[in-house]
């Protein structure tokens, strides 16, 4: 259902929706960026439409809304366990086409892999409604067209900024609610059809590519900071962490916290032994997961081409570039960056 809604009415619409939904969107936080005077675009719960950053790509992905950086799995006392409460409301996420595709990847791991549903993820995931902000044109480092994640069928609402108004295509229950705030128009979603950055993901990756000297170069460049994995909308790994309370050590909580395969200790076992000590091997592990082994297991690539890893790397290591180098090597030609 296409609806044209003036910005002040859109704000009132969000006020109405906030009775039943937690509304989350990218917001611009001044001075919180990578360099002290630059802004940071990140996800927050919002109160009004004015807070939403429609024009820039967010540095962090929306995955943290339902898969928080630190999540309490249960609290315990001497005799019982209890789980943190799950909110009653639904969750609206303002995001981009590629972000919705990324949620499908998270679903694959948390809801299906191993035949077991992760209850913490599942309960929040059911509540999510996607309000997708059209990308008027590709942002820097985006390569969604190459990954086939630029287009989208399954959104709840599609939004296009149009002067001082929003053109919306609202579906399901939202169609009725949206109509009350504007006039009916025809709204056919438009998607980015070209990115400046293009990648070619090789169909088959021979085991020789795993051992190629290409990876050694990353051993000297990468500083194992993990920014690329933290910003990635499809990274799912976590580590368990137990804490107890100072005033009563018999009470505490078990949490999970995001983990990164790029950071030291990801594979270390108590007693010392670990794998992939070289950063180049970690880069290989990460890249292969995103463009090769996830696909072998689930039938489609994990990477959605949002380019956030390239936005955030302090060493200017380009993931997109790496994919293309792997492609060149996989097709039997030697690559030079």
């Amino acid at each position: 259902m296409g609806v044209y809604i003036k910005n002040n009415s859109f704000d009132q619409l969000l006020t109405e929706l906030s009775r039943d939904y937690i509304i989350t969107a990218p917001v611009k936080l001044p001075g919180k960026g990578a360099f002290s005077d630059t802004p940071l675009v990140t996800y927050r719960e919002i109160r009004g439409a004015g807070e939403i950053e429609f024009n820039e790509k967010s540095r962090f992905s929306p995955k943290e809304i339902i898969y928080p950086i630190t999540q309490t799995l249960f609290y315990f006392t001497e005799n019982e366990y209890s789980r943190p409460a799950v909110p009653d409301q639904g969750i609206i996420i303002f995001c981009r086409a590629c972000d919705v595709h990324a949620f499908r990847r998270l679903d694959e791991i948390f809801l299906r892999n191993g035949g077991c549903e992760d209850i913490y993820f599942a309960e929040l995931r059911k509540k999510v409604k996607f309000f997708v902000m059209e990308c008027r044109e590709s942002f820097e480092n985006c390569f969604c067209v190459s990954m086939g994640t630029n287009r989208l069928e399954d959104y709840d609402v599609m939004l296009r900024v149009s002067g001082d108004a929003q053109e919306c295509d609202a579906r399901g229950d939202f169609a009725g609610i949206f109509t009350g705030y504007g006039e009916a128009v025809e709204m056919i979603p438009r998607f980015v059809e070209e990115n400046h950055t293009k990648v070619t993901v090789p169909e088959n990756i021979d085991r020789q590519v795993f051992k190629h000297p290409l990876w050694e170069e990353y051993s000297s460049r990468c500083i194992a900071c993990g920014h690329c994995t933290v910003s990635c909308p499809t990274c799912t790994c976590f580590t368990m962490q137990d804490i107890f309370y100072e005033d009563n050590p018999k009470c505490g909580e078990r949490r999970r916290v995001w983990a990164s395969c790029m950071i030291d200790g990801f594979t270390s076992m108590v007693g010392g032994h670990g794998f992939r000590n070289e950063k180049g091997d970690r880069m290989r592990f990460k890249v292969m997961h995103k463009i090769y082994d996830f696909r072998k297991r689930f039938g489609y690539n994990m990477c959605v081409g949002c380019g956030r890893c390239d936005d955030v790397c302090p060493e200017y290591i380009s993931f997109a570039n790496c994919i293309n180098r792997v492609n060149t090597i996989a097709s039997g030609v030697s690559a030079h960056e």
């Binding site: 315990f76 799912t236 368990m240 137990d242 505490g252 983990a259 594979t267 670990g274 997961h289």
Partner: protein, 266 residues
């Protein structure tokens, strides 16, 4: 919806010290376990870690736990009557049906003896359906030897050969061999390579060289199984720590046929 992360309390009914740092814990539980599977063991507030089941029977399981960190340190303080928490079992164990009527050789390095102990104890108490069983085991020093009493009993029934890397001053008296376990593999009698099946469990380097040695003894790749040890935070295919290529060790392992294991590049 079932919460797969929630552990349950298991009462300790016995603690059997094996070495200064390895204790075997017997827990009261009705879990249905297969040799080679593992549990997530935890103490809330301290931590959680994967530990392989070393033996099991009706109403109990045993795990042999080495004191190497904070969690295992706290567990080592526990006595019968105490408890810790477990969830599982996880993973695929050894494919016992493949071993029926076969000559099975087990090569175990150090604590690698724990995950195969239940195969040995079953066979030696007449429950197995193997044609024969041979145990080759390697430890750092004589004092690192696990399951000493059981090994003496097994010797009555099967061929057991033990080697140690070195004999240090604190060692118990030693009349066995010294040197790497690969030395035992070169000499172990193999009557009929085609009917022989092999299990190798131990540190990565030990498993790699042991497998190469068995290949030289004309054991086919597909007749060798290994068990991997990895960091595993969930056991459910979610946390990602155990993944190698498209394989999740917690789901498809920890036991792998060698034809698959040799393809896995960490």
């Amino acid at each position: 919806m079932n919460n797969a992360y929630l552990p349950f309390k298991a009462a300790i009914t016995g603690v059997m010290p094996q070495t200064a740092s390895d204790y075997t814990y017997r827990l009261a539980t009705d879990l249905d376990v297969r040799p080679g599977q593992f549990m997530e063991v935890s103490i809330p507030g301290v931590g959680e870690a994967p530990i392989s089941v070393s033996d099991f029977g009706s109403g109990w399981i045993e795990m042999t736990i080495r004191n190497v960190g904070r969690l295992t340190g706290v567990i080592h303080e526990l006595k019968p009557g105490g408890h810790f928490f477990i969830r599982g079992p996880y993973g695929h164990g050894f494919p016992l049906e493949e071993f029926t009527g076969r000559d099975l050789i087990i090569a175990a390095g150090g604590t690698g003896l724990a995950p195969v102990k239940s195969i040995l104890s079953r066979h030696c108490s007449g429950q197995g359906r193997l044609k024969s069983l041979t145990l080759l085991a390697g430890f750092k020093t004589p004092s690192d030897m696990l399951f000493k009493d059981e090994i003496s009993a097994w010797r009555e029934k099967i061929d057991v050969q033990i080697t140690v890397d070195k004999i240090d001053e604190n060692s118990s008296p030693w009349d066995g061999s010294t040197g790497l376990i690969t030395g035992l593999i070169t000499k172990v009698p193999v009557q009929n390579p085609g009917n022989t099946r092999v299990i190798i469990v131990g540190p990565p380097v030990m498993m790699k060289f042991s497998a190469l040695e068995f290949l030289k003894r004309d054991i086919a790749r597909e007749n060798i199984w290994v068990s991997f040890e990895r960091k595993m935070c969930c056991g459910l295919g979610k946390c990602g720590h155990c993944k190698i290529d498209d394989t999740y060790v917690c789901l498809e392992g920890p036991v792998f046929n060698y034809t698959r294991a040799e393809e896995l590049i960490d």
